[in-house]
Amino acid sequence: MEKRERWLWYLWFIFLALTTYSPIVAPYNKTEPVIFGFSFTLFWWMVLTLILLFSVIVFASRIWRRKNE
C-alpha cells in the first residue's frame, strides 16, 4: 500500500472516531426520528459502527501484499 493511501486511511479512521465521540457532531440526545425502531442516536451509532466494520475489513485486505504472506 502506498504511503499516501495509508495516511488517508488513518485520517478516515480518526474521522470515524471523532464523528462517534465528538459532542459537536454526535447526536447524543435525539430519540426522534425513530428509524427501524431505533432511536436516532442509536441508529446513528449503528450506521457508524457498520461503516467502521467494513472499513477495517477493506483496510486489512489491502495492507499486506499477497507476495509476502
Binding site: 500500500m1 495509508r6 479512521f13 470515524l16 472516531a17 462517534t20 465521540y21 459532542p23 447524543y28 440526545n29 435525539k30 430519540t31 425513530v34 427501524f36 425502531g37 431505533f38 432511536s39 442516536t41 442509536l42 451509532w45 449503528m46 457508524l48 459502527t49 457498520l50 467502521l52 466494520l53 477495517v56 475489513i57 483496510f59 486489512a60 485486505s61 495492507i63 499486506w64 501484499r65 507476495k67 509476502n68 504472506e69
Partner: protein
C-alpha cells in the same frame, strides 16, 4: 435443570477431550507449552483472540450495562472493540515479527530486551499480575452466579467446578488446548447470544416493537449519559482509549500475536475480529433493553440475563448457561496461562535460573499456573456487587504499561529509566485518583495515570542515555521487515 447438566456436561467433556488431544501432542519446552511453537492457523488464531477478548462480561455484564445505563453502552464497548482490531496492524505484525526473529514467548521479554533491563520487565509483570488476577476472579464469580441461578447450587461450587476443569485442561495441553477450547467457547458465545436474543424478541413481536416500547417508557435509556449519568463524553472517550489499546496492554491478548503461523493468519485475525465483536455485542443490546421492559425492578443489572432466561424455553436456557460458563473459561484460561508464562519465563528463566532444564521449566510453569488459579479462586469467594467494577480497574491498571510498549516499538530515544518511571508514575496516579482524590474534569483515573505516565516517560527518556545495542537492532530489524512488507518486496 436436567438439560443444564446435559449441555454443560457435554461441553465440559469436549474440553477434556481437547485436553487429552493436547497432552498427546505436547512438546518438551516452554515455546511449545505457551505459544505452540507459533503454528496456530487462521480460524483458531482468530477465535482464540476473540474469545479471550470476550468473557462472561459479554453475556452477563453487557446486558446489565444496557439495562442500567442504556444505549451509551454501545459506543462504550462495541464501537471501541471494533476499532481495536486496527491495533493488529500497528502492533500485531510488529510483535509477530519480533517473536519469530528473537524467540520471545512473552511480551515482557521484548521489554527486557529492548530496554536492556530486568527491572522494566519485572515491573510490567507485576502490573500484569496485580491487575489481571481480579479479572480471573471475575470469570469465576460469573460462573458461580450463573450456576447458582440455573442449578440452585451455592455460587462457591459453580466457581470451584469452573476452576477445576480450567486447571485440568490448561495443565495438560497448555496454549494448544487453550486455543482449541477458545475456538469452541467463542462459537458457543455467539450462538447463545443470538438464540437468547431472537427468542426473547419474539415476546415483544420484534426489534422495532421492543425498541419503541423502550423509547416510550424509558427515554433516558435511549440517550447519554444515561439514567445514572455514567456515560459522559469524558468517560466514553476514556474507555475508548483504554479498550483500543487492550491488545498491547493486556498480555493475554498480546501473546496471541506470537502464535499465528503466518502473516496471512494475522490478516484474517484483523478482518474477522471486528465481525465477531459486532455479532457478540448486538444481541446483548436487545437482551439488556428488553429486560428493562420485562423486569423493570431488578436489584442489579447483572440479573438481566438470568431473568430473561426464565422467559425462554428451558433447553435454550440450558445452552445459555453453558455459553456463560464457556465465555468465562475462554478468558480465564488465557489469563492465567499468560501470567504463568510471565512468572516462568520472565522471573524464573530470565532472572533466577537461566541454565535450568526444559523439564524443570515446564514444572515451574505448571506449578505457577495452579497457584495463580488457586489465588484467583480465593479472591472470588468475596464477590463485589457489580462484577464489572473489577474488570474496569483491570483495563485501567494494565493501561499504564502503554507508554513503555509504544516507546519500545516506535521511539529510539526511549530509555529504561523513562520506562520504569512511566509505569510507576502511571500506577501511582491511578491509585491516587481511585482511592484518595476524585479524578478532575470527569476523566477516568486510568487516563490520568496514562497522561502523567507518558509525560514522565518522555521527560526522563530525554535526559537519560538510551540503550544502544539491542534497541538499534530491534528497531532496525522492524524498519527493514515492515518496509519490505509494505512495498511487497
Amino acid at each position: 435443570m436436567n438439560s443444564v447438566v446435559l449441555f454443560l456436561g457435554a461441553y465440559l467433556l469436549v474440553c477434556l477431550g481437547f485436553a487429552y488431544r493436547g497432552w498427546k501432542r505436547r512438546g518438551e519446552d516452554l515455546e511449545d507449552f505457551f505459544i505452540t511453537k507459533r503454528t496456530v492457523g487462521g480460524f483458531v488464531a482468530f477465535m482464540t483472540f476473540s474469545a479471550t477478548l470476550f468473557s462472561s462480561f459479554t453475556l452477563v455484564g453487557m446486558p446489565g450495562f444496557f439495562y442500567t445505563h442504556g444505549i451509551g453502552s454501545w459506543v462504550f464497548i462495541a464501537f471501541a472493540d471494533i476499532f481495536m482490531a486496527l491495533m493488529i496492524y500497528f502492533f500485531g505484525i510488529r510483535f509477530w515479527l519480533l517473536g519469530k526473529k528473537f524467540g520471545y514467548i512473552t511480551p515482557t521479554e521484548f521489554l527486557r530486551d529492548r530496554y536492556e533491563s530486568d527491572y522494566v520487565s519485572v515491573i510490567a509483570v507485576l502490573i500484569g499480575i496485580v491487575f489481571l488476577l481480579p479479572y480471573i476472579s471475575i470469570q469465576l464469580i460469573g460462573a458461580g452466579i450463573v450456576l447458582k441461578g440455573a442449578l440452585g447450587i451455592p455460587a462457591f461450587y459453580g466457581s470451584f467446578l469452573l476452576a477445576l476443569i480450567l486447571i485440568i485442561y490448561s495443565e495438560l495441553g497448555g496454549m494448544r488446548t487453550v486455543a482449541w477450547t477458545d475456538a469452541l467457547q467463542g462459537t458457543i458465545l455467539l450462538i447463545v447470544g443470538f438464540l437468547v436474543a431472537i427468542l426473547f424478541l419474539r415476546e415483544f413481536g420484534g426489534i422495532s416493537l421492543m425498541m419503541s416500547q423502550a423509547i416510550e417508557k424509558y427515554p433516558e435509556l435511549m440517550t447519554v449519559p444515561g439514567p445514572k449519568g455514567l456515560f459522559t463524553y469524558q468517560i466514553l472517550i476514556s474507555f475508548f482509549i483504554m479498550i483500543i489499546f487492550m491488545p498491547v496492554t493486556q498480555p493475554q491478548l498480546t501473546v496471541r500475536y506470537f502464535i499465528p503461523e503466518s502473516k496471512k493468519t494475522l490478516k484474517l485475525m484483523m478482518m474477522a475480529t471486528p465481525i465477531f465483536a459486532f455479532l457478540a455485542m448486538l444481541p446483548q443490546l436487545f437482551i439488556g433493553i428488553g429486560a428493562k421492559i420485562a423486569f423493570p425492578e431488578l436489584a442489579s443489572g447483572d440479573q438481566a440475563l438470568t431473568s430473561v432466561l426464565t422467559l425462554i424455553p428451558p433447553v435454550v436456557g440450558a445452552i445459555a448457561v453453558t455459553g456463560v460458563i464457556a465465555a468465562s473459561m475462554s478468558t480465564a484460561d488465557s489469563q492465567f496461562l499468560v501470567l504463568s508464562s510471565l512468572i516462568t519465563k520472565d522471573f524464573y528463566v530470565n532472572i533466577l535460573n537461566p541454565k535450568s532444564s526444559n523439564r524443570k521449566r515446564l514444572k515451574i510453569a505448571r506449578i505457577s499456573m495452579f497457584l495463580l488459579l488457586l489465588l484467583a479462586f480465593i479472591i472470588s469467594l468475596k464477590p463485589p456487587k457489580l462484577i464489572v467494577t473489577l474488570s474496569i480497574l483491570s483495563f485501567a491498571g494494565t493501561l499504564q504499561v502503554l507508554p513503555t510498549m509504544l516507546g519500545g516499538l516506535f521511539w529510539k530515544r526511549a530509555t529504561r529509566e523513562g520506562a520504569i518511571s512511566s509505569m510507576l508514575v502511571g500506577v501511582l496516579t491511578l491509585s491516587l485518583f481511585q482511592w484518595v482524590l476524585k479524578p478532575p474534569f470527569g476523566i477516568h483515573q486510568g487516563i490520568w495515570g496514562l497522561i502523567f505516565g507518558s509525560l514522565s516517560f518522555v521527560l526522563i527518556s530525554l535526559i537519560t542515555k538510551p540503550p544502544e545495542k539491542k534497541a538499534k537492532k530491534i528497531l532496525g530489524y522492524l524498519k527493514e521487515a515492515l518496509g519490505g512488507l509494505e512495498n511487497g518486496s
